[in-house]
C-alpha cells in the first residue's frame, strides 16, 4: 500500500481543516493586536504575528508529513519513543540549560529542545497502544500500571519545574483511560478517594504555586502580586462587554495592563476587543474543532486510530479548558498556552503535527475496509 493514495485525498477531513484554518487565522489576527503597544504617538507592533505565520507554515509541512505514512506503524515505536523520552528527561537536570529559573531545555547547538514535548507525544502513543489493546474496562491492577507509566515522566517534568506540562501529560493519560473506561466500582471508589488525596498534593507545591492558587481563590488579597494577572485579565474581558472595544483598541492590552498578553493571556485581548460576541464565536470554533476530532475518534478504522484521535482530543481539550478557565478566573494561573491563539513556535508546530495525525487516522478510515 502506497503511503499516499489518490483516493485518500477524497477522504481528507475538510471540515476539520477548515475549522483549523479559521482558528489559525483568528489567532494571527488577534496576535497582531496583542503584540501592539501604544506609545506616545501611534502603536508599535512586535512582529510576533509574522513569526506565528512562519511557524504555522512549518507546521503545515509537519502536518502533511504526519499524514504521509500509515499511522498503525506508530504502534511499533510507542515503547522505544517512551524510553527515549525518559532518557532525555533524565538528562535534563545534568545537561539542561536554565531559562527563567527552570531547567527544561536541552541544547543541541543548532536548536534547543524540550524533552517534555517529546514526552507528551510518547505518552499519547503509548497510551493509545496499551489502551486500545485492553479487551475490557480497566480494573485496579491495569489502571495502576498505566497511571504508573504516566507518573514517571510527569513527575520528572514537574520537578524541572514545569507544573503545567507535567499535569498535561497526566491529564492526557487520564482522558484516555476514561475514554477506555474503568470498572464502575473502581470509578466510584476513585470519586470518593480523589478529594481526600488532593489536599496532600498541596504540600508538594512550590511557594509561588501556592500563592497562585490562593490568589485564584481570592484575587483581591494581593492585587499587585499574584492576583494581578487574574484581576487584569478579568478587567480586560469584562470591559469588552457585548461587542468589544474594537479591533486594535483594547486599552488593557495596548497600555500593557494585561500581562503575558501575546502568550498565555492572548484570548483576553480578543475578549476585550471583540466582546462577548467574539468570544462566543471563538468558543464555537473550538467546540466545532473538538467535535471534528471526536468524530474522527468515533469513525476510526481501528481502535489504535480511535485512541490516537481521542488522545489528541484530550491534548487540546485540557489546554483549552485550563487556559480559557484561567483567563476567565475559573482556574489558577498555570502557564499553559491556548492552541492557535497564544504565540508559541514549537507549540504551533506540535499542534499542527498532532492534527496531521488525526487527519491521517481520518483519511484512512475507509481504506482498510477494502484491503
Amino acid at each position: 500500500m502506497s503511503p499516499i493514495d489518490r483516493r485518500m485525498l477524497y477522504h481528507v477531513n475538510w471540515p476539520l481543516v477548515g475549522v483549523l484554518a479559521a482558528l489559525f487565522f483568528v489567532g494571527v489576527l488577534n496576535l497582531y493586536s496583542a503584540s501592539g503597544v501604544r506609545l506616545g504617538e501611534g502603536v508599535s507592533v512586535e512582529p510576533y504575528y509574522q513569526k506565528q505565520v512562519i511557524w504555522g507554515t512549518i507546521g503545515l509541512f509537519g502536518m502533511v508529513a504526519f499524514t504521509a505514512f500509515d499511522y498503525r506503524r506508530l504502534s511499533a515505536v510507542a515503547w522505544p519513543l517512551y524510553a527515549v523520552s525518559l532518557l532525555l528527561l533524565l538528562a535534563v537536570p545534568f545537561l539542561g540549560k536554565t531559562i527563567y529559573g527552570a531547567k527544561r531545555w536541552l541544547d543541541f547547538g543548532l536548536f534547543s529542545f524540550q524533552p517534555s514535548e517529546l514526552a507528551k507525544f510518547a505518552m499519547l502513543l503509548l497510551g493509545a497502544r496499551i489502551l486500545s489493546a485492553q479487551p475490557d474496562r480497566l480494573d485496579l491492577k491495569r489502571l495502576s500500571y498505566i497511571i504508573g507509566l504516566g507518573l514517571v515522566p510527569a513527575l520528572m517534568i514537574i520537578k524541572q519545574p514545569d507544573l503545567g506540562t507535567g499535569m498535561l501529560v497526566l491529564l492526557l493519560l487520564c482522558g484516555l483511560i476514561l475514554y477506555r473506561g474503568i470498572r464502575p466500582w473502581l470509578f466510584r471508589t476513585l470519586c470518593v478517594l480523589m478529594p481526600l488525596v488532593m489536599p496532600l498534593a498541596w504540600f508538594g507545591l512550590k511557594d509561588y504555586q501556592k500563592r497562585r492558587i490562593l490568589a485564584f481563590l481570592d484575587p483581591a488579597t494581593d492585587p499587585l502580586g499574584s492576583g494581578y494577572h487574574i484581576l487584569q485579565s478579568e478587567i480586560a474581558l469584562g470591559s469588552g462587554r457585548i461587542f468589544g472595544k474594537g479591533y486594535l483598541s483594547g486599552t488593557q492590552s495596548q497600555l500593557r495592563f494585561l500581562p503575558e498578553k501575546h502568550t498565555d493571556f492572548a484570548v483576553a485581548v480578543l475578549g476585550e476587543e471583540w466582546g462577548f460576541f467574539g468570544m462566543m464565536l471563538l468558543l464555537s470554533l473550538f467546540c466545532a474543532f473538538l467535535y471534528q476530532i471526536a468524530t474522527v475518534a468515533r469513525e476510526a478504522k481501528d481502535p489504535f486510530g480511535s485512541y490516537l484521535a481521542a488522545g489528541v482530543f484530550f491534548y487540546f481539550f485540557w489546554q483549552i479548558l485550563i487556559n480559557m478557565g484561567m483567563v476567565m478566573g475559573l482556574m489558577p494561573v498555570v502557564g499553559i498556552p491556548l492552541p492557535f491563539i497564544s504565540y508559541g513556535g514549537s507549540a504551533t508546530l506540535v499542534n499542527f503535527c498532532l492534527l496531521g495525525l488525526v487527519l491521517n487516522v481520518s483519511m484512512r478510515r475507509y481504506l482498510f475496509k477494502q484491503s
Binding site: V37, R38, L39, G40, S132, P135, L178, Y179, R180, G181, Q232, E234, I235, A236, L237, G238, S239, G240, R241, I242, T251, Q252, L255, R256, F257, G271, G275, F276, M279, M280, L283, S284, F286, C287, L290, Y291, A294, A297, R298, E299, K301, D302, P303, S306, A310, F313, F317, I320, L321, M324, G325, M328, G329, L330, F368, K369
Partner: protein
C-alpha cells in the same frame, strides 16, 4: 462501522465517544455562562475598572492671589524657588547620591535618607522626588556642575509664597505652608506639596486666594507614563486682594514700638477699615513657607516676648482708665450722672474697712464730669461705679462689643472678658463684692480687653454708637454688628471731654496735641500686679515684669478724615509717657504726612547668614500659645 471494530475482535469505546461529546458540551456551557457573567452582567463594573487603569486625573496649579496694601503696594507675591529633586529611574547609586547631596548642603545624611524613604512610595520612579526644597545659587551651581557625575539629580522650579515685608505684616497676613495630611484628606484637590494658608488672612481668605486648580485627564500605560492628555478645566488664578492696611503706617507702628512689646491699631471709625494693625515683637512669615525646623519653631514658641502672638487681637489686658470712657457713656445713658454735679476728691474713698485710693495723692478737689475725665479722677468713677453696679456696667459693655470677639478676619481672636456676677460665681464660686464694682469702674480687676476691642469702642463713641466689624480689606461696606445706646448730646459730651484731655493744661494727654487736628484721647495705666509699698517707692525702676501696662486710646479729626488710634505698650509704666509717643507718631503720619516707606525687610541680605538649605526637615504644625495675660492676674 461497528463491523470494523468487530473484525478486530474488540468493543468500540461507545461510552468514550459519548464522554468526548459530553466534555465538549460541558466546556461550551461552562465558558458561555462565565463569559455572560463577566462581559454582560459585570461589564459595566469592569469597564469602570478599565477606565481607572487607563485614565488619571491631574490637577494644574493655580497661582495664589497677590496681596496688596490699600495703596496697591505689593505685600505677598509668588516667586520661583529652586528645588533639588531625585529621579530614581536615572540614578545609579542612590545612597551615594544622597551622601553627596548631604555634603553639598550640609544637611545630615540621615535626614535626607528619611526624606527619601518617606516620599518614595508617593513618587513614581520617573518623577522627581524632592530632596531639598530651597536651593540658593551657589548650591545650584554645585549641583549643575556635578550633574554628569551624579545622574538623577534635577533642579526643578516651583513657586513659593514670598512676603515682601516679612516682619511687618506677619500677624495680619499670617503665612502659608505645605498642606498637612488631614488638610489633604479634607480637600481632595489638595495634593502633596500644595500650600495652604495656615495663619492670618492667608488662612481666613484661603478659598479666595487659592483660586481653582485646573484639571486634566491623562491617559497612562501600566508604568504610569503619560500617552495623551486632555484639558478639562483651565486653572483659575486666586483673587488679588487689597487690604485696608496702609503699609507706611504699619511700618511706622513697628518702628515706634521697636524694642518694646505692644500693639497699635489704627481704625477708620466710620467704615471699620483697619489702617494699621501692629504687634511687636513679630516674626518673619517667610520662615514658615519653607518649612520650619523643630529648633526654629522651639525658638519662636519659647521666646519670652511671644513674637507669635498677635497682641492686637490676642493680647488681653486690663484697660485701666481707658475704661472710664465706657463708664462715662454708661453713666450718661443710665442717667446716673448729672454733668454739672460735682464730686469732691480727697484722694481716697473708704468702703467698709477698705480704702480705695485715687491715683493722685491728695486728690483732685472738686471735679465735675468733664474734669473727672480730663484728669482721670478715680474717686469720681468709684462713686459712679457704686451707683451703676456691675450688672449695668457689664450689660452696657457687652452692647459696646466688649467681652466678645470683634469678628475681624483673623483666626484665634480672643474675646477678652467683661465680668459679671454670674461669671464670678461660676468661675470662683464666690459672690461678687461691692469693692469689685469700684475696681471695675476704673478698668482694673477681671476686665480684659484687646487693643482692637478698645479701638472699636472708641470708634463707636465717636461715630454715634455703631459697633463695627473691623475690616482688613479695602472698600468693603461697613458692617454694623450692634449699637451702643448713646444720644448725640452724650456722645458730644464724651468727645468734648476727650478733646479737652488733650488740650487742657492739666489734661493727661497733652503730649498728643497735634496742630491743625482735633485730637481727643484717654490714657490708661493698667496694674499688672498689686505692688508692694517697697516697689512703689522704686518708682519707674520696678522690674520689667511688674511694671504697669500703658494705654492710650484716641482719635484725630481733620475735615472729613477721622481715625481712631489705640496704642498699648506692655509694661510701659504710664499711659501718657509709655503709649503717648506711639499715638503721636501715628497721628503725625495720618494727618501731617510724616511717614516714610520702609526699606524692604526681607531679602538676600537678611537670609545670607543662615544656612541656605535649612528647609523642610521636619515641619512642625504651629499652634499658638495661650496669652500670658490672664485678666485675673491684675488683682
Amino acid at each position: 462501522m461497528k463491523s470494523s471494530y468487530n473484525s478486530c475482535g474488540q468493543e468500540p469505546p461507545r461510552l468514550g465517544v459519548g464522554l468526548l461529546q459530553c466534555l465538549i458540551f460541558g466546556l461550551f456551557c461552562l465558558f458561555a455562562v462565565r463569559l455572560w457573567y463577566l462581559q454582560i452582567h459585570l461589564g459595566p463594573v469592569f469597564t469602570e475598572k478599565s477606565r481607572n487603569n487607563q485614565l488619571r486625573t491631574e490637577y494644574i496649579f493655580a497661582p495664589r492671589g497677590f496681596l496688596r496694601d490699600r495703596n496697591g503696594e505689593l505685600l505677598a507675591v509668588n516667586e520661583p524657588a529652586f528645588v533639588l529633586g531625585l529621579v530614581r529611574e536615572d540614578c545609579d547609586d542612590i545612597p551615594a547620591t544622597l551622601n553627596q547631596v548631604a555634603a553639598w548642603t550640609g544637611l545630615p545624611a540621615e535626614r535626607l535618607k528619611d526624606i527619601y524613604a518617606r516620599n518614595k512610595p508617593k513618587v513614581k520612579p520617573f518623577e522627581a522626588l524632592t530632596l531639598v526644597p530651597d536651593l540658593d545659587f551657589p548650591l545650584i551651581a554645585k549641583v549643575e556642575g556635578g550633574s554628569l557625575r551624579w545622574p538623577g539629580l534635577e533642579i526643578l522650579s516651583r513657586t513659593r509664597r514670598k512676603y515682601i515685608y516679612g516682619h511687618l505684616l506677619s500677624h495680619v497676613l499670617g503665612f502659608v505652608a505645605e498642606a498637612s495630611e488631614t488638610e489633604m484628606q479634607a480637600d481632595p484637590t489638595l495634593s502633596l506639596g500644595d500650600f495652604v494658608g495656615k495663619q492670618g488672612l492667608e488662612n481666613r481668605l484661603d478659598d479666595r486666594l487659592r483660586g481653582a486648580k485646573g484639571r486634566r485627564l491623562i491617559e497612562v500605560d501600566v508604568t504610569g507614563r503619560r500617552l495623551s492628555e486632555e484639558l478639562q478645566r483651565g486653572p483659575k488664578a486666586g483673587e488679588e486682594i487689597f487690604l485696608s492696611i496702609d503699609l507706611g503706617l504699619q511700618q511706622l507702628g513697628h518702628k515706634v514700638l521697636e524694642g518694646k512689646a505692644g500693639s497699635v491699631v489704627v481704625m477708620d471709625p466710620d467704615s471699620g477699615e483697619i489702617h494699621a494693625l501692629v504687634s511687636e515683637p513679630s516674626y518673619d512669615s517667610n520662615t514658615f513657607t519653607t518649612g520650619l525646623s523643630s529648633a526654629q519653631w522651639a525658638e519662636l514658641r519659647d521666646d519670652p516676648m511671644h513674637p507669635l502672638q498677635n497682641r492686637a487681637t490676642q493680647g488681653v489686658y486690663p484697660p485701666g482708665s481707658v475704661f472710664k470712657l465706657l463708664m462715662a457713656a454708661a453713666g450718661l445713658h443710665e442717667k446716673a450722672i448729672d454733668p454739672n454735679e460735682t464730686v469732691y476728691c480727697t484722694g481716697e474713698l473708704a468702703l467698709g474697712n477698705h480704702v480705695f485710693r485715687c491715683w493722685k495723692k491728695g486728690g483732685h478737689g472738686t471735679v465735675n464730669f468733664q474734669r473727672a475725665l480730663i484728669e482721670s479722677c478715680d474717686t469720681y468713677f468709684y462713686k459712679l461705679g457704686m451707683k451703676l453696679g456691675v450688672d449695668r456696667i457689664s450689660s452696657y459693655a457687652k452692647l459696646a462689643g466688649l467681652g466678645v470677639a470683634t469678628g475681624i478676619d483673623l483666626p484665634h481672636e480672643k474675646a477678652g472678658l467683661i465680668p459679671s456676677r454670674e461669671w464670678k460665681m461660676k468661675r470662683y464660686g464666690v459672690r461678687w463684692t461691692k469693692g469689685e464694682d469700684l475696681n471695675m469702674s476704673i478698668g482694673q480687676g477681671y476686665t480684659g480687653l484687646t487693643p482692637l476691642q478698645v479701638a472699636r469702642l472708641i470708634s463707636a463713641l465717636i461715630n454715634g454708637g455703631k459697633v463695627l466689624k473691623p475690616q482688613l480689606m479695602r472698600g468693603v461696606p461697613a458692617q454694623v454688628l450692634s449699637s451702643v445706646p448713646l444720644t448725640p448730646e452724650h456722645a458730644a459730651m464724651i468727645k468734648r471731654a476727650m478733646v479737652a484731655t488733650v488740650e487742657d493744661p492739666r489734661g493727661t494727654c497733652r503730649r498728643v496735641l497735634t496742630p491743625g487736628v482735633v485730637v481727643g484721647a484717654k490714657t490708661g495705666t493698667a496694674q499688672v500686679v498689686r505692688l508692694s509699698e517697697e516697689m512703689k517707692r522704686m518708682g519707674d525702676a520696678v522690674p520689667y515684669r511688674f511694671r504697669d501696662h500703658a494705654w492710650m486710646a484716641g482719635f484725630g479729626e481733620q475735615g472729613k478724615k477721622r481715625y481712631v488710634v489705640v496704642a498699648m505698650v506692655e509694661h510701659g509704666l504710664h499711659g501718657a509717657s509709655g503709649a503717648g509717643p506711639v499715638v503721636k507718631a501715628m497721628l503725625d503720619a495720618l494727618f501731617l504726612g510724616k511717614k516714610e516707606l520702609p526699606p524692604r525687610d526681607v531679602g538676600g541680605a537678611e537670609r545670607a547668614g543662615e544656612p541656605a538649605a535649612r528647609l523642610v526637615v521636619d515641619p512642625v504644625e504651629p499652634t499658638f500659645p495661650e496669652v500670658p495675660h490672664e485678666p485675673g492676674a491684675a488683682q
